[in-house]
Symmetry: D3
Subunit: 185 residues, 6 copies
Amino acid sequence: MRWIVLKKHIDYDGSQISSLWGYMAADLQEDSIIAFRGSCDVQIRHMIDLEDRKEGDSIYSTDMLHFVIEHFDSTDLKLIYARQRLFTAMVAETLLQRGIKTSRVGDDLFVQGKKLSISIASTSAVSQKIHFGMNVEHAVYGCLSDQGVPEQDMFSLMEEISSRYVEEIHDIEKDLRKSRPLGVM
Amino acid sequence: MRWIVLKKHIDYDGSQISSLWGYMAADLQEDSIIAFRGSCDVQIRHMIDLEDRKEGDSIYSTDMLHFVIEHFDSTDLKLIYARQRLFTAMVAETLLQRGIKTSRVGDDLFVQGKKLSISIASTSAVSQKIHFGMNVEHAVYGCLSDQGVPEQDMFSLMEEISSRYVEEIHDIEKDLRKSRPLGVM
Amino acid sequence: MRWIVLKKHIDYDGSQISSLWGYMAADLQEDSIIAFRGSCDVQIRHMIDLEDRKEGDSIYSTDMLHFVIEHFDSTDLKLIYARQRLFTAMVAETLLQRGIKTSRVGDDLFVQGKKLSISIASTSAVSQKIHFGMNVEHAVYGCLSDQGVPEQDMFSLMEEISSRYVEEIHDIEKDLRKSRPLGVM
Amino acid sequence: MRWIVLKKHIDYDGSQISSLWGYMAADLQEDSIIAFRGSCDVQIRHMIDLEDRKEGDSIYSTDMLHFVIEHFDSTDLKLIYARQRLFTAMVAETLLQRGIKTSRVGDDLFVQGKKLSISIASTSAVSQKIHFGMNVEHAVYGCLSDQGVPEQDMFSLMEEISSRYVEEIHDIEKDLRKSRPLGVM
Amino acid sequence: MRWIVLKKHIDYDGSQISSLWGYMAADLQEDSIIAFRGSCDVQIRHMIDLEDRKEGDSIYSTDMLHFVIEHFDSTDLKLIYARQRLFTAMVAETLLQRGIKTSRVGDDLFVQGKKLSISIASTSAVSQKIHFGMNVEHAVYGCLSDQGVPEQDMFSLMEEISSRYVEEIHDIEKDLRKSRPLGVM
Amino acid sequence: MRWIVLKKHIDYDGSQISSLWGYMAADLQEDSIIAFRGSCDVQIRHMIDLEDRKEGDSIYSTDMLHFVIEHFDSTDLKLIYARQRLFTAMVAETLLQRGIKTSRVGDDLFVQGKKLSISIASTSAVSQKIHFGMNVEHAVYGCLSDQGVPEQDMFSLMEEISSRYVEEIHDIEKDLRKSRPLGVM
């Protein structure tokens, strides 16, 4: 698995959650996490969460850190959702190390009672993906600027979160290769 | 999925990680998390982690909070390991809410640089399981007493952690039932 | 898993077999069986069975009891087809208890040599579904009215069949949580 | 898939539920259903159902028709249990055609309120199996003799049930090869 | 599994890689390999390999032997790719027996340093497929004519390759039905 | 995935086919192919192939090149058997490049009509493995020495075969990360 933080801004419109976007955008032929910064405005046809569609929710933010994760090793929905929750908890851990205390509710992070992030996970016939976005600036919702993350740290924050996820996955892959099967009563 | 906190002490000897222990011990016919308190002394024949076997590690503690999780919905190693990491992160979140700051490295929690917990996960042909144990008292390693968790809170801590895991799993099961499949580039 | 019998008539046009219809129509975030009454006229673009498409079969009935089953726990075709056959056999058992003797051939029920029902099963990347429809009235094919099921019993028949399927699935989930793995020769 | 009815009596002691028994006993290298007649006395070490073990149930009958099914196409517990229920329903359908009315509760058949059959299903790492046994004679429980099945029909009854199951599986395999994937809302 | 060699020419435009083409074209309700002869001109909307799309590669040949394989027993990408490589190796083995020495690089065959074949594999929610095409005539690339395969042998070559693949799959299915599970250290 | 050729001789007694042998013997926590040279004398309790057990076949050779492959990414029997066939074909390709023409029948290689190799594949609850052994010297069966492979080339032959398999698997993993899902008729 590989991580990349893109230098150029990309506006997240939901097309990036499509399977194989990493291959088209960055020639990646590995499982990957790609981070980038940009606005967020998900088009209806790219909305994965039917709750958003149903309620006509607009998912809009002018400035976010985005993380797009793609795994080709499984198409099991349970697995990608467990990974999504784990990723969300890891983001919280990383922020805590920088002194920002958040609370996690499922795949959402809250800071001082305000929603800081959005996330979705799903699968196609060939891969499974997660999108996770965190506000950099926001008038209403929680955002990293308000929490004192300086502008010049945004890039390194994306690097830290991305590399940490890859490390976690590698660590799991190593651990499961030294465990015996369970006994049975 | 159901959670139970056992009132009686049980000494964890590794047999509890066997598939179907929950059915034999508590008549459970659901996915479950069973918490209990007791010593920890894993017998060599119940050691799942070959690293421990190889290095002749003794896994010993006189007083621990134990969590034994069993899922019958999959026998995929990747899934049970993702769930194990997520559970470990959740324990850290719960402790943090009580003012105890830990750091997570894979499936281990550390407190003030000292190892607080042990964990293993694996699968049989019929179910997948996690064991997670956390020292209550320990002369050398990290432990909850040293962190100021009063004796009378141990039971409620087990309840909080167990119920939270069940809630997380239920939340996942609900979320995956409103997500469309991914588009493809 | 949950069952619902809808009070309002719904005309089955094949769109109801789509994944996540239950969430859109009834906010369900569980595996489910939704029963309702209405005509049946499957549009070509919703035809799952290519045999029907190929032969230009019209699937038409003015009045049917419909059952739409959705499971998110697997996308295995073999499983949803085994469940479809089991469901069909259960409908036959239920009718027999009301004195109506049918014969089952795969996923079809016949009464006095006439086809009483239609059914299809398939999977998407996120869920697996079954549609099963049974004629209430029909000039040519078998139907419940001709078998003496009174108009006022149609609703309770849908309730009985739906609840029975849920019970069967729950019973299976319980049984598989007390079975040891097989030995090997 | 192939079916065989053995001419010689075999006493079912539970070893026949082991994976690969069909290969050792009859050189079968296909999915199979093997039927035979004989007593039933399951040894504790071959008991798959922990409920029986726990309650010290003896599973004993002097004369039974046995059906041992093995599939190598999956090790999914949900699938083998769905197949077990379907098989049980099929046995009931077959008996009904001979005028014997039973009622099915999960994997049990009852005749005039008395238990007629026993069954278990499980999986190993290589195959999944079902055992289903039905009393020919029994002083206490339901049995085929009491229902008027003549001695000379026992063999043909085994043939009919076995061949019907193979036909059902083949029919499923054919049906799933003409179904389009589901659309999505 | 069944093999068919079509007598009529079919021009491969990529639509034949779609799931269920075998059912629509030849009423097949089994896993299958269908061989035929014809030109090759893959339309952009049927291009499975994004590398071709990206690079605007035209996949064009006036005369090829085509093999279209469909399996419904799994939707695992790893499996269909292993099968694709195995098939490619088998084609090389068959050509070698006719005195034509090729070298295989992944899913490509080369003859005297020139590319002889094209191939792709993928999965949908219901089946997995392989397309493999080999030039009969070609001005630039390698082709069978240049290797001395006479015109009248093309049909029998398709028969030989197709039947051999079916035999290989059947042999695998038999072998896995006599193997015990692995022991564990 | 990693490959290793062991310098020391190891006598293959069948214990090496056990899951996790690579971890115990060489601290490997990756999918792996481990090659070594030594005699072959499989103990009855390590025999995976029931045909050998049944026929009391001794699997004996004084000097062989052994390849032990372990994958933790799946426990699907069909996949490990497809990989076994592919590996066998690759060995044949490698030998051919050295001028040794063999014929492959399933998982066996023959040279001048004499059996050159043995192989088995299976799965446990945690991993899937292949053993492939090829005679260096043999009085009765085919062997590499008789085919003119000089003693000093045995090690490099093991390196070539092992590295090629790893390369093939990596190539597959890359290819499946640029393929779109199939369309459907």
